[in-house]
């Protein structure tokens, strides 16, 4: 992998994330999204954009194997995750995820939250686990808050702690669900900077769900825009392209919201 974090896709190394003909639907309801095929290339920050309620979080739950899609395939690093229970278990070690709510464990302090994946899945000795969890908290700017409970820190800090926890095993693929929603512009800006830093320095591929325009322009390399009417990908490309050149009316509506 080159040091810039960008690689040209080639047939030999499968992309971190690839979907083929994915259908997102709940029970007997008509599908929210149909025939989704897209990929995230190694080292890029892929944005999944779309208005509230179009099915972004629902899509994410299928990408990480929490729910089985009605049809289609999800491949992480070339392996179909729904092929077998063993494949699903393997897939879960390959990515980190930050849920929209943070989902920190309320009765564990931040250090214990971040250490937990290491304690459960690694063979490192306790001293190394603690040092490593401290390092992750430091990376997200939470040095000094190791012993705080999630309830004792602010919302922005909780999101950063959730990113630190997702980073614990240093996966090469991270999913973030609305990292900057509900944050003030300065905190959101810090978070965006953190994501770009991690992507470039640790060569992590990010799949970021978001509908914040500022954050999209700051961090996203390439994006797919979901649309409820189209029940799928309405437009695809760099944020600049989507905002200025795309002929798609959904892209216009999305990017020219309050400009």
């Amino acid at each position: 992998m080159s040091s810039t974090g960008k690689t040209t896709p080639d047939a030999a190394t499968p992309p971190p994330l690839e979907t083929l003909g994915l259908v997102v639907a709940y029970e007997d309801d008509p599908p929210l999204l149909e025939n989704l095929s897209f990929r995230a290339e190694a080292g890029e920050i892929l944005g999944i954009l779309g208005p509230s309620g179009c099915g972004k979080s629902s899509l994410l739950r299928r990408l990480v194997g929490l729910e089985i899609p009605r049809a289609g395939e999800v491949k992480l690093f070339g392996e179909e995750i729904f092929a077998s229970p063993a494949a699903l278990a393997r897939a879960r070690q390959k990515f980190g995820i930050m849920y929209q709510s943070g989902a920190l464990f309320g009765d564990l302090n931040l250090l214990a939250n971040v250490s937990l994946p290491l304690v459960e899945f690694s063979s490192m000795p306790p001293a190394a686990i603690e040092a490593s969890a401290t390092l992750k908290l430091d990376l997200v700017g939470l040095r000094g808050f190791e012993r705080h409970l999630p309830s004792a820190i602010s919302g922005g800090m909780r999101k950063r702690a959730a990113i630190a926890r997702a980073l614990a095993l240093e996966p090469k693929l991270m999913f973030l669900d609305e990292p900057s929603a509900g944050l003030d512009p300065i905190t959101a800006g810090d978070l965006d900077e953190l994501i770009v830093t991690l992507a470039r320095n640790l060569e992590i591929t990010f799949v970021v769900i978001t509908h914040e325009l500022r954050s999209i322009h700051r961090i996203v390399d390439r994006a797919i825009l979901l649309d409820r009417g189209a029940r799928g990908i309405a437009a695809e490309g760099t944020p600049q392209f989507l905002a200025l050149e795309s002929p798609s009316p959904a892209a216009k509506a999305f990017f020219l919201r309050d400009a």
Binding site: S123, M124, A128, A131, L169
Partner: protein, 373 residues
């Protein structure tokens, strides 16, 4: 990368103390010990580790190597790392900077036996003080209400009372009925042997009216209404709704707790009367099953159960209702912060209430004995 569990190998140490590390070092491949104690015993004090064979290293791996060096130093070994491939240097430095940074605050030392007993007692005393001060607040609001009854939130009193009585009615009556049945059955077995089974009516009647009907009702209301008060108020607190209430100039004690407490205080005696009836019916059923006509039970009761028995039972139920309401609301309004606070407040409310009911009931037993009621 798609294969997180790559290989990682260690060779050595040889006679010069050289260890060779090779392969992928990350959280999943790092061994718990770099050198087993057996090998370490034979190793010279100056160790060198050759990292040139490392194919990949992440922050976890680098932190692992750095903490290992520290722990070996504590055992009297020096470990020097050599030959780190240049492309891994940025990761190495990132991990190293962090380890050289400010050490985080050490975790609080676990308390010794006496310290934890002392802390427990202190917390208990604090708890008791909170309850007494809340009781004082409620009594003063109650005084205010008696002076200006038109300021009361009678609508919500009626709602809560309605809910408590109607919802709790079936379960309370069923429990009381069964307890009356069991009590009568057990004593009838015994008394029939002496030919005094007519007194089963008095035993069941007095037990139910003076003690059991009251107690059962209070316990059912603890589980239904008291716990509901705790969880409602605790979740309002954790949502900052209580704060919003206070900043609006309202008083949680007067406007949220008092209506609930009043409602429960008034509802409990009503429910107790019905529970008593159900318990007596249970007793009567057993009497009938051993050959006494329906009327005999009630005639016997009329002879031996007097107004003071009814009055003690109902007076106690009034006090229990008030207690369950006060403790339920207090636990909710004084809930701690954090996501587990609602559940904790509810559990503590129920436990405190059952304890309080048992203690109060014993005090009443002594009091009524002394007063000869």
């Amino acid at each position: 990368m798609a294969r997180p569990k790559g290989y990682f190998t260690i060779a050595g140490p040889d006679r010069e103390g050289l260890v060779r590390l090779a392969g992928t070092l990350n959280a999943l491949t790092a061994p718990r010990r770099l050198l087993p104690p057996k090998l370490l015993k034979k190793a010279p004090p100056n160790l060198h580790a050759d990292l040139s064979g490392l194919a990949s290293l992440d922050l976890n791996g680098a932190t692992y190597l750095l903490t290992l060096r520290e722990s070996l130093r504590a055992q009297g070994f020096t470990l020097v790392y050599l030959g780190l491939p240049p492309r891994l240097i940025p990761i190495w430095n990132l991990a190293k900077e962090n380890l050289l940074g400010e050490p985080s605050a050490p975790p609080p030392a676990p308390l010794g036996f006496f310290a934890s007993v002392g802390k427990g007692l202190f917390a208990f005393a604090g708890d008791l003080r909170d309850q007494v001060s809340f009781l004082g607040e409620i009594i003063s609001h109650l005084g205010g209400l008696i002076l200006r009854p038109w300021t009361g939130r009678w609508g919500s009193v009626l709602n809560v009372a309605n809910g408590s009585v109607v919802d709790a009615l079936p379960v309370t009556c069923l429990v009381a009925f069964l307890v009356g049945l069991i009590l009568a059955f057990q004593s009838a077995m015994l008394m029939q042997g002496f030919g005094v089974d007519i007194f089963v009516a008095d035993l069941v009647g007095i037990s139910i009216i003076r003690e059991l009907g009251t107690l059962l009702t209070a316990i059912v209301l603890t589980g239904r209404s008291g716990s509901a008060f705790s969880s409602e108020l605790a979740s309002m607190k954790s949502n900052a709704e209580i704060d919003a209430f206070v900043t609006m100039g309202l008083s949680p004690g007067r406007d949220l707790a008092l209506p609930r407490i009043l409602a429960l205080t008034l509802a409990t005696p009503a429910l107790t009367v019905l529970a008593d009836l159900a318990g007596l019916l249970g007793g009567n059923l057993v009497m009938m099953s051993i050959g006494h006509p329906f009327r005999v039970f009630w005639d016997e009761l009329a002879l031996h159960v007097d107004l003071s028995d009814m009055a003690t039972g109902l007076f106690k139920s009034l006090v229990f209702g008030f207690t369950v309401g006060v403790i339920g609301c207090q636990r909710g309004l004084y809930a701690a912060h954090g996501p587990s606070a609602v559940g904790e407040a509810t559990t503590r409310g129920v436990v405190t209430n059952i304890l309080a009911i048992a203690i109060l009931d014993s005090l009443f037993a002594v009091l009524f004995y002394v007063l000869n009621w």
